[in-house]
Subunit: 293 residues, 2 copies
């Protein structure tokens, strides 16, 4: 039986995650327009935000320690279509680590000649980097447990000599890491090396794959509708993962705690489940329902 | 006697460097407005551009593989004052490595719990990463010799166990690295860990320190004037280093090949000279003159 462990809103970082994987370069303007409203507008996550766009093996990163709803840089990203096959976004409500640029997700490190990026929703009380591995080649710059956990994962993979280009081996290793750390706290994550996008649900995560026939969709945050038919070709496949559904008129799939998924070029290429303790998601303790389709 | 080695424009990367160190958070809008004109406007460097802003120990990075003169993101940066104590900018005219995001300077890596950033003007024919050190913990993502050289420096410092917070030790090590590699090609660099800003001149570099009494200044690229008196307090100290002077009515100091400088909080805190071969700077083979003051 999986134990249920209560957590209060004060104990757990309320953050919003967003990830995208696509088979053609796709912009994030629509999803980002919705998500950014939660950064000080429809949501309380006003303590910084960041976006990573992969274009081939290169990245563009945007980080801002202020509220996304009023950010000049966020204004640009909501209207300027940066085309990407993998992107991730995080908006932050701080608890561990001050409101500062160095504590703003997603975190980025080069590993095996690729840029890896990582964003986390949750908190792991008592986690300290020295707990894992002696190499500590990767060190956190800021004070968050999230960045320390990311460094810990990379240090472990470096020590073990995992093949940085072998997706199967990497995902297996990352799932093991998630299963271990999700025992001690809330550990919803998205992680990418630019080729594939991995997500692990500890309390709350939802996803959708859009493909032909495309349809209109309406944002839950803000009265904005897009008709994907005019934005796509019949061959486009785009998967989006987020803390909660971004639209109310599409069929999002909700994750159960312990579920993980990995997408490449928009398609689900791996998924599974590990047993984890059930922590309550702060301010949202009812089970999440799929949005009406 | 220092040998004079000719280099053609085809052999050497024509790029533009810009670095800033200040004792109070200072925006780069004025200097960036001038420099970006050289990225496809008054200069031919249209193959990408990037800027790093340090805010405390955090960074914001902006990279774009297109021409800075027509970039939407550059438009934002020229008018939106991001305040920083250390910043660096690079605009690129490609030779080694395709025009792609992953080849766009400045390059960033975490070393010793700080973000290090690096931009290079020049080319080192024949340089390959395996030449230096076995650890190769840091690997280039793109194909430029510049990124490989940066990784090489970090691998060497990691192997040697240098103290990542000891400025004197680090600068001594970096000067040695520059002296070695400037023997084989053009190696103008700026490098920072967010605390201090280092620059090394192989062919061409100029700098200025602005302090009270401040005066007006006029950009060489574009008919734009700023009166620093209205932008500063009497205690502000701001040093700027660039491939060539950005203004024509201030007294810029030119570097001789082999000169290096390091600034912290706007003040020069170290400088020296090493003997290096004299390579011609492409398309600018006359000795550079200081701008009229």
């Amino acid at each position: 039986m999986i134990p249920v462990i209560a957590a209060t809103a004060q104990e757990v970082c309320m953050c919003e995650l967003l990830g995208m994987s696509a088979n053609v370069p796709t912009d994030l303007c629509f999803s980002f327009t919705g998500l950014r409203q939660r950064g000080g507008g429809t949501g309380p996550h006003k303590d910084g935000w960041g976006v990573i766009f992969y274009e081939g093996i290169g990245i563009r990163s945007f980080h801002d320690p202020g509220a996304s709803v009023s950010s000049e840089v966020a204004n640009l990203l909501a209207r300027y279509p940066i085309k990407s096959t993998v992107a991730m976004c995080h908006i932050r409500q701080a608890n561990v680590g001050s409101v500062a640029l160095e504590n703003t997700h997603p975190f980025v490190r080069e590993f095996g000649g690729r840029y890896w990026s990582f964003a986390h929703n949750g908190q792991l009380p008592g986690f300290h980097l020295p707990d894992c591995g002696m190499a500590q080649r990767y060190r956190p710059v800021g004070q968050t447990d999230s960045e320390a956990l990311f460094c810990c994962l990379l240090n472990e993979m470096l020590e073990e000599g995992v093949d940085a280009l072998d997706r199967e081996q990497l995902v297996q290793r990352i799932v093991g890491f998630c299963a271990q750390h999700a025992q001690t706290g809330v550990f919803n994550i998205i992680l990418s090396n630019g080729l594939w996008l991995f997500s692990f649900c500890s309390t709350k995560l939802a996803c959708i794959t859009r493909r032909a026939p495309f349809r209109p969709a309406t944002l839950r945050d803000g009265d904005i509708k897009v008709d994907f038919r005019s934005e796509t070709t019949p061959h486009d496949v785009v998967s989006v993962v987020a803390t909660s559904p971004l639209t109310y008129d599409e069929g999002w799939r909700t994750f159960a705690p312990g579920d993980w998924c990995v997408w490449e070029a928009g398609e689900l290429v791996g998924a599974g489940h590990v047993d984890v303790p059930r922590f309550a998601h702060p301010k949202d303790k009812k089970p999440m329902q799929a949005a009406s389709a």
